[in-house]
């Protein structure tokens, strides 16, 4: 499902984020990506949903080489990937409900389906009662859960999450992880970048370690 072939990423001024990364993540796998701050975790995720392109090597996600993707193919490629961004990336001038429904709108779902589906995912993250609030009215943890709900709403083939429990208390973190497992059990490939070592230990999943751009792997 996700393959990195000799991938290196060098930013401007020679700042190397990833170095010769080779890894494959199969369909339906649940994988943690961990490492210290600045290790290249976010870059790793950005390369998968083609926010960034590799400087060397190639990234194949969902059988598509991200370098070979034409500009017009990018939206369709991204529609199959749900992303929970570290900074949430919620649309500030839209309500929680509108943030969720927007994804369904751009995917062309019929109006009758939007409301039910949006409330379904909001219920999954326990925030159905905040549907009419704007992101600025929510706490960091609530915004994070909305970002998770948005990533799940169209049942993507791949789910990428960058520190999805960073702002959540331990109980809620467990709930969210259970939710990710549930999504994973339906066949979605889940890749979670996190600092939370306790969570990784508890979940006992395949874990990739990044350190200064170098990848090591620890199987469960």
């Amino acid at each position: 499902m996700i393959h990195f072939f000799h991938v290196s990423k060098v930013y401007e001024k020679g700042n190397r984020a990833l170095h010769e990364v080779n890894v494959s993540i199969g369909k339906g796998e649940f994988v943690f990506l961990t490492g210290p701050s600045g290790a290249g975790k976010t870059t790793f995720l950005k390369l998968i949903f083609r926010e960034e392109l590799p400087s060397y090597g190639r990234v194949v996600a969902n059988n598509q080489n991200t370098i070979a993707l034409g500009k017009r193919q990018i939206p369709d490629f991204r529609k199959k990937i749900g992303v929970v961004f570290q900074d949430f990336k919620l649309l500030e001038n839209r309500t929680v409900f509108e943030n969720i429904v927007f994804i369904l709108n751009v995917l062309g779902y019929p109006a009758s389906f939007l409301r039910d589906r949006a409330f379904y995912v909001l219920k999954l993250v326990g925030l159905q009662h905040r549907y009419d609030d704007y992101p600025r009215q929510l706490s960091g943890g609530e915004q994070q859960r909305i970002a998770i709900a948005r990533a799940l709403v169209n049942e993507p083939l791949i789910l990428l999450a960058d520190e999805p429990t960073g702002n959540l208390d331990p109980d809620l973190s467990l709930e969210i992880m259970a939710l990710f497992e549930k999504i994973n059990s339906r066949g979605t490939t889940v890749l979670i970048a996190t600092h939370d070592r306790d969570m990784i230990r508890r979940m006992r999943k395949r874990t990739l370690y990044l350190d200064h751009g170098h990848l090591q792997e620890h199987r469960k």
């Binding site: 017009r72 369709d76 529609k79 990336k89």
Partner: protein, 295 residues
């Protein structure tokens, strides 16, 4: 079905954008309104001049000037004869006093000339309309009449007026083109500013997989709404100005009497002007939105 869902989405998003960036929208509408008001004014003048010229061309008014010693009875007899000719209509005998009065009404200086001359130098004349196809026959019929001094044909005046009119039309078209360009440029810039203000939202939309049409089309709707609003307001202001100018300045304008009969534009012209403003909105905003690039 998908098309209707998409159109509904574009409409809702476009309207939301339009109301969200209220001040920018108002600025754009103001510029378009001014442009469209000026275009409406010019179009009204052009439409009326054009109609007047067509009317004159299709039904020209000739004047037959009789010799100074022609009596009123001879004038009346000739008028009656002319009425019997084919292709002749609206025959009117104009006595010297009436002729001078008309002249003085149009050109006040003519009254002074009369005082200087201590008498009315104008002869009896006959005004009439002659169908263009009957013109040669009428001239032939008048040949035996020695009391006919000259026949004034409006064609020279008409051709002069036409050449002035076409020069003015070109000038009006040039100004209209400049105004249209200025409006398109304004819409383009307003939408560009709006796009820059929403750059973060646009990036998020792209990262979650929104097609470019879902990002660009609402901006086109926003520009279209600006064009439509500006067009309606501008057309109303323009026709209101015409009514005010007509009532206050043209009612007694004697040199070009048709100006006092100036009419507002027909509905089809208004529809055309509003379509033009919508087209300006679509063009300006589409150009601006097409510059949004992929993240």
């Amino acid at each position: 079905m998908k098309l209707f869902i998409d159109l509904g989405f574009f409409g809702r998003e476009g309207w939301a954008n339009f109301t969200r960036s209220r001040m920018l929208s108002l600025f754009s509408i103001l510029i378009i309104s001014i442009s469209i008001a000026i275009i409406t004014l010019f179009s009204t003048v052009f439409f009326n001049v054009d109609n007047y010229l067509k009317e004159m061309e299709n039904n020209p008014v000739y004047s037959i000037f009789l010799t100074q010693d022609t009596t009123a009875k001879e004038g009346r007899d000739l008028s009656l004869y002319l009425e019997t000719l084919k292709g002749v209509s609206d025959v009117k005998l104009v006595m010297p006093d009436e002729g001078m009065k008309k002249l003085a009404d149009r050109f006040p200086l003519a009254g002074e000339i009369q005082k200087t001359l201590e008498g009315n130098p104008l002869p009896i004349s006959i005004q009439l309309r002659i169908n263009t196809s009957a013109l040669v026959a009428v001239r032939q019929a008048l040949k035996p009449y020695s009391i006919v001094e000259s026949i004034y044909s409006p064609h020279f005046f008409l051709s002069q007026l036409k050449s002035i009119s076409s020069a003015v039309s070109f000038f009006i078209a040039l100004i209209a083109a400049i105004l249209v360009l200025a409006s398109v440029f304004t819409i383009y810039n307003v939408i560009r500013i709006t796009i820059l203000a929403r750059q973060n939202d646009i990036a998020i939309m792209q990262l979650v997989g929104a097609d470019m049409k879902f990002i660009r089309a609402p901006f086109t709707v926003e520009g279209t709404l600006q064009g439509l609003s500006g067009g309606i307001i501008g057309a109303l202001i323009g026709s209101g100005l015409i009514s005010v100018i007509k009532a206050h300045y043209l009612a007694n304008f004697q040199y070009l009497p048709f100006l006092s009969r100036i009419t507002t534009l027909p509905v089809s012209y208004f529809a055309g002007i509003i379509l033009l403003s919508i087209a300006m909105g679509i063009f300006g905003s589409t150009m601006a939105a097409s510059r949004i690039d992929y993240v």
